[in-house]
Amino acid sequence: MEKTAWEKVKLARLASRPTALDYIDNIFDEFIELHGDRYYRDDESIVCGIGSIGNSKYTIIAEQKGRNTKENIMRNFGMPNPEAYRKSLRLMKQAEKFNRTIVTFIDTKGAYPGIEAEQRGQGEAIAKNLIEMARLKTPIIAFVIGEGSSGGALAIGVADKVIMLENAIYSILSPEGFASILWKDSSRVQEAANIMKLTAKDLYDMGKIDKILKEYIENEKFSVEKIAADMKEEIESFNKEYKTINSNELLSKRYNKYRSM
């Protein structure tokens, strides 16, 4: 039986859900992490690096939640500060320079809402990623692997192809936020989840994402290997197809995709 949207929200947030690094380890033959935005610090809520599958090279940008408390503190619970977006942009521009396809993994409750994040221009950092991703002359593929919440998700999500895992969610804000702002009642969170059209299926039906991947889930256990194998196949066929498109055509395709939204 098809799960309700609220059940999917819970699955998308499940502590045992695989994180970006679990997929990266299984997809790429090789991965070297690169750090820092070159302005302020290294924010580990986004992992960036370069990797390969066979002969093909990729730049990888991934929102990373912790897999335990210690990691979660280090990763700021997967909520990026502006420097995480600036690090991502630095490395996406490098991808353009070296003609590498960009692969992003989206999994965040949102950009971090903190005093220092505002001081350092959270809004500016996200906006800059949006405008630059729209014109990067290299193919971009994005996977929404867990929670894709708000501008904090979109900031690494402007892509030629957007794929969601079947129980991932993608939305303008959390169902809690939606219920508390719209109805002034955060207890109506399940109802909010069920009307927000935040599931992969809803978004696919609305034409906002391009594909859904199966999660091979049994008793709340995910088969990382199987999911990663499907992702790898997607990345390779995307790379093969999009690498041959000249950059003018690539950019106008990407423009038209977002222009029609």
């Binding site: 950009a111 971090y112 809402p113 903190g114 005093i115 994040a117 505002e118 001081q119 350092r120 221009g121 959270q122 809004g123 500016e124 996200i126 906006a127 800059k128 949006l130 405008i131 630059e132 729209a134 014109r135 708000s150 501008g151 979109l154 900031a155 999500g157 402007v158 993608y170 939305s171 303008i172 804000l173 936020g177 939606f178 702002i181 719209l182 009307i195 927000m196 059209k197 935040l198 978004l203 609305m206 906002k208 990407r254 423009y255 977002y258 222009r259 939204m261």
Partner: protein
């Protein structure tokens, strides 16, 4: 400076307004004749888009783009369409932004003015579409672009559709940038969320009115997250200037003149 304002028995309703800052009771017309700035303390009242346009374009002549875009209801919310209809009647505008072409000291410019009276200037499909259309018009006609921002952020009633407007408007601005055209973003009180995280922050030049609240996350959300009080002056335009995110703070009385000078300084030599 305490003034007695307690006894105002026979003032006709609607002719007076209280200043949010100095609490002075002011005659509305005096405020309107003063750029909607408090004559007593300089507080900038929020402006409707129509009033803003009157203050900025020559003789108030503004050729609004004729776009009849219906506000969609992608989440099929029960009251949303009705709410929009009521707002249209109440405000006399169709959506949260007015877009068109006007002259500023004779310089032809594409101008978008958001309106906080319309669902707090939130950006849904129509706002995103009209702004994108305006950017494309600026490119087509090779004109500079000015956007006056006021917004609570993306319009959550439209779900993911509103999120995608951030990508759409930003992609259009990338093209404007490539075309070598000037974009001035003017931030007015308040500018937040998805608007701050897209076109509001992407101006070649970013101006703000004094004492404007600007941010990505709202103060209440931040307070709930970090569980501590926010510093005084946090997220004001003065705070943003200090931290390097805006070019200047301009009093409303000087806004037209400042924009006019900037437009002239960007004219090609010939």
């Amino acid at each position: 400076m305490e003034r007695k304002i307690t006894k105002v028995p026979d003032i006709p309703v609607g002719k007076w307004v209280k200043c949010n800052k100095c609490k002075e009771i002011l005659y509305k017309e005096d405020v309107h004749n003063n750029y909607s700035i408090c004559p007593n303390c300089g507080y900038h009242f929020r402006l409707s888009s129509r009033r803003r346009i009157k203050q900025i374009v020559d003789e108030g002549i503004f050729n609004e783009f004729e776009l009849n875009i219906e506000t969609p209801n992608p989440l099929n919310l029960a009251d949303y369409s009705k709410k929009i209809e009521i707002l249209r009647q109440k405000t006399g505008i169709k959506e949260a932004v007015l877009c068109g072409i006007g002259k500023i000291d004779n310089e032809e410019t594409v101008i978008c003015v958001m309106d906080g009276n319309f669902l707090m200037g939130s950006m849904g499909y129509v706002v995103g579409e009209k702004i994108t259309y305006s950017i494309e018009k600026a490119i087509e006609k090779r004109l500079p672009l000015i956007i006056f921002c006021v917004s609570g952020g993306a319009r959550m009633q439209e779900g993911i559709v509103s999120l995608m407007q951030m990508a759409k408007t930003s992609a259009a601005l990338a093209r404007l940038d490539e075309a070598g055209l000037l974009y001035i973003s003017v931030l007015t009180d308040p500018t937040y969320g998805g608007v701050t995280a897209s076109f509001a922050s992407l101006g070649d030049i970013i101006i703000s009115e004094p004492e404007t609240m600007i941010g990505f996350a709202g103060p209440r959300v931040i307070k709930n997250t970090i569980k501590q009080e926010l510093p005084e002056g946090f997220q004001t335009s003065e705070f943003l200037l200090e931290h390097g995110f805006i070019d200047m703070i301009v009093d409303r009385k000087d806004m037209k003149n400042t924009l006019s000078r900037l437009l002239r300084l960007h004219k090609n030599e010939d």
